[in-house]
Structures are given as structure tokens and as C-alpha cells.
Subunit: 299 residues, 2 copies
């Protein structure tokens, strides 16, 4: 059942504006001493990100409670800070050594490596401070902090995925390896965006299990779609250097399964993700429409 | 009133053992995939740190509740992870470029810069995950997470102090500047160790204010004592390169006030810190003895 009536573009735009206003308020101004770190945090935070993780958190909350809960934009902003911190550190010379992201010079190019390292650190810290200040009952706040920290961590989370990626840069790509890297490096934060959005809206343990399954399947589908885009689109459409995964021998889904199989896998995973949302009926239409848009987008 | 009867060496040793056992349990083993990051986290965590911040947290808890509360070693371990993360990032080539710490090769020397950056990131993440799992009532847990994140942050916290230090490395040292750097760079984490230990033990808002004042004064006294040690001791006694602050033009207390005045300031600050603990009588004896030891130590 496709949610044809949902205007994904408007939803996405409204969510991004909501998230941006929260980020503007929550990250200290460049006038706040010490100035350079706040300038660096803002440079990378306001570099044209689409705020897709906050969008997923908001629509997961709507799926649970039927409406957007007040103050959830602070959760969205915290998740976006964590995403931005990971990009700043990933771009460093010691890691991917990227000078450009979304067509703009990366943090260390503008502010130097020392401040870029500390700006990433500080976005992580500020994210947890913002989470601690959420307007949820204390037990829900504690749950969200724990879930988010786990999703960023080394064992099944984002940092673990970055390390797997580094350790295996010149390894033969296998199905098992690409699955492990995607699940951890990009999948975990997407999954926790969905789950934390639900918890913010009062999700029960059963809701959490459903959202977790949805987030796991959809997150992998988004990453497969990203990998395919990187191989098939040119740089100007993407706003970043196309083919970079291949050039740097990153482990990607199409490298293991080919492009056609990858497209079929993404489509199948999205249908499996949708099945987890069946109990919510029409309340999940927005979340499903957003997810479908993310696997079918062209850049 | 000096707490002469307290055996600080035994207290310190017992606290360090307690903290080490918690760290051993809370940081994934090197057998846990991905292995390199856990090896790097452990390398720097178990590099001979004295666990002074956990010790302060434990004795602050004793000051509030009269006994060491069960499970507080997890709070101590989380604070030590944050301290270790800051050392790993401080030692990086882009920051202080230190190859040795406590006589051992630093994280990036052993594991490379990429893994060292991510190991610091991961220790921060794991610290917040451990805090979220503390065995305190949810409202106290939320309070601790917020306080700790604030103490690590950019505005009055550790990262802000690191940035001030970098921004002013070749600046003329002034009283205002050295005060601001010490308060943020090392003072904030010491202060929050004391306050969070108190909150763990059930501190009221009035207790928090007293512990905060104690931690602020004592933390500055410890850093002044450190600065004096750096200028007066030789490297073998310190276990690190003596005179490094001077060589790299770091802003230190003796550089502004001279060594004799610095010693007097440290002694005065400790007495002021003790005054904040007067309402607790003998229950604060251990905390006071530990603080006096920290300003009078020779290495």
C-alpha cells in the first residue's frame, strides 16, 4: 500500500527548517568565547545537510502518537550534531582526507586540524547535553541517551563501522563484510533516529521492537541506494565526487552484488521495512513515504 | 582542621583498584570486533593513570551519604574515560604532538592517527552510555549526564579550555587568561567529578552548590600545583617531559605569578575549598585529606 497522497518534499522541507531553528538555538554563536570552535561547529552543521535523520525521528514519533510532539526538534538537532561530528572526523587527513563536502571546504580546511578535531568532539558532547535536557520523563530521557550512545559506539554502532571500513579498505568485499559495515557505520544512527523518535512520543517496548526492525531494514536500503548513486551518477548531480567509493576501494553493496541486484535488494528491504509498520495503519503513511523517497532519490 | 588520621595512600590505591576493575569490565575486550579500536581504547585507559577524578567522586559521595554507594565505580570509570579521551586527542600531532605520556608511547604512535582519533571519540561515547546505565533514579541519572556533558563542553568546559589554550599559545600570559584556561581545561572535569559523586549519593541542591564551590577551588589549586611541579621537578620524577609548558609557551600560573606566589595561592585555595565542606564535619575528612595530598604531592 503506497502512501501516494503524502507530499514528501513539503514534509522534508518543514522538518529541515524545524531542525535548523533548533540547531541555531542550541549551538553557541560565534560570538561566544572561545569563538573558533563555535565557528567550526557551525560551519559544518550548516553546510547544506538534508536533516534526513531528524525527519525520520519526527515521522516515527507521528507513527506512535499521531502528531508531532512538542520539543522533538531538540532530539532531531542532537542526532544531527552526532551525524555532523562523524562527518568532520571522517573528512580529516588521517581518515578519508576529504577537502570538500557538499561542494564546500571541509572543517579542517577552513579551521585547521586541531580545531576540526575538537569541533567534532564538541558536537558529540553537546548532543548528549541536549539529550539530557529533553522535555521527556526522566526514564525516557535516560533510555534515549543510552540508545543513542549505543548507536554511536564501537560494538554495533557508527564508530565501529568507521573502524571496520578503515580496517578493510583494501580487503576483498564480501556480503558479510559490506552488511556489517553498512549496519554499523550508517545504519545504526538511522535506526536509532527512528527508535528515539518513537520513544520521545511514548513508544512501548513492542513499538520499539517494530521501529527497530523498520529502521534496520530501511537504513540498509538507504545505504544501498547511496552506493548505487555513487556509481551511477556524475559529480555535479551528487554535489560530491562521484565514484569516490570505487577509487578508494571502499566496500560497497554494488561491488559485491552488482548494480541491478543492489537495486532489487533496496526495493525488497523497503517492503520488508514497511511490513513492520503494518500495525500502525495510516499513521505510518508519512514515515513510509519518506523512506520510499530516500531509496528512490536521484541525488 | 587537618584530617591527619586519614591514610590517603590506601584510599587512593583502593579507589584506583575499584575504578580499574570497572574500566576492565566496561571497555570491550580486544577480542571484540573491531579489535583495533578496543585495543587503542585500552592502551590509553590502562597506561598508569592515577584515577584521581574517580577518587574525588567517591569521597564526595562519602561526604554526602557517609558511605560509598554501591555501583559508583561506574560513574568513576565514565569520568576516567572522558579524561582519557581528552588526553588521546590532546596528544595528537595536530594538537600537542606528544609521543610519550607517563613514559609510554601515546595512542596515535601505537595505533596510527585514524584509530587514535576514533578511540578518543569512542571513549567519550562509551562514557555517556555508561552514565545512562547508572543505578541511580532516572532524574539523578539525567542530572549527572547533563552536568558531565556541560563540564566537557565548549562554553565553560574542558574542550573550551583546550581551545583557549590553542588560541593563546603565544599570547602574553595574564591572570585572567590563565584563570579562564585552568577553570575550563582541567577544572571543569574535576569539579563535576566532585558534584556528580555527590549527586550519585543523593545530594540536595544545597549540597550540589557546596560541592561545586569546593570542586572549583580545589580544582584550581591542583592545576596550580601541577604547573609548579612542571617547572621545579625533573622529568624522571614527573614521568613526563618537565618544563614542557615553558618550552611550548603554555599559559601557566607560575608564568604569571611566579613560583612562590603560586604555592601560596594553591595553599589558600585549598583552605577556601575546605570551608565549603564545613557543614559536613568529619564526613568530609577523607575528601579533604585527598585534596590536601593532591596539592602537596611531589609528582
Amino acid at each position: 500500500m503506497r502512501a501516494m497522497a503524502v507530499d514528501v518534499k513539503s514534509l522534508t522541507k518543514a522538518a529541515a527548517e524545524l531542525t535548523d531553528r533548533a540547531l541555531e538555538e542550541l549551538i553557541p554563536s560565534v560570538e561566544t568565547v572561545p569563538s573558533s570552535i563555535h565557528g567550526a561547529m557551525r560551519h559544518s552543521t550548516f553546510a547544506g545537510g538534508k536533516r534526513l535523520r531528524p525527519l525520520l525521528a519526527y515521522q516515527a514519533a507521528v507513527t506512535i502518537s499521531g502528531a508531532l510532539p512538542a520539543g522533538i526538534e531538540r532530539l532531531g538537532a542532537a542526532i544531527e550534531m552526532l551525524h555532523t561530528y562523524s562527518l568532520i572526523h571522517d573528512d580529516l587527513p588521517a581518515l578519508d582526507n576529504d577537502d570538500l563536502r557538499r561542494g564546500k571546504p571541509t572543517c579542517h580546511v577552513v579551521f585547521g586540524e586541531a580545531i576540526a578535531i575538537l569541533a567534532g568532539d564538541a558536537l558529540q558532547t553537546r548532543a548528549f547535553e541536549v539529550l539530557a535536557g529533553l522535555d521527556t520523563p526522566p526514564a525516557a530521557t535516560v533510555q534515549i541517551v543510552g540508545l543513542v550512545a549505543n548507536a554511536v559506539g564501537t560494538v554495533e554502532g557508527m564508530i565501529g563501522g568507521q573502524v571496520l571500513d578503515i580496517e578493510n579498505e583494501h580487503a576483498k568485499p564480501t556480503a558479510e563484510l559490506v552488511n556489517a559495515i553498512h549496519r554499523a557505520k550508517t545504519g545504526a544512527l538511522i535506526r536509532v533516529s527512528v527508535v528515539a523518535g518513537g520513544v520521545y512520543a511514548g513508544a512501548t517496548a513492542q513499538d520499539v521492537a517494530r521501529l527497530d526492525l523498520f529502521g534496520r531494514k530501511a537504513g540498509l536500503a538507504f545505504q544501498i541506494a547511496d552506493d548505487v548513486l555513487d556509481m551511477t551518477e556524475d559529480s555535479s548531480a551528487l554535489g560530491k565526487t562521484a565514484g569516490k567509493d570505487q577509487a578508494t576501494e571502499k566496500v560497497t553493496w554494488p561491488a559485491v552484488f552488482g548494480i541491478e541486484q543492489s537495486r532489487r535488494d533496496a526495493a525488497r528491504l523497503i517492503e520488508e521495512a514497511f511490513a513492520a509498520l503494518a500495525p500502525y495503519g495510516g499513521r505510518a503513511d508519512n514515515l513510509k513515504a519518506v523512506a520510499r523517497y530516500l531509496v528512490e532519490r536521484k541525488n
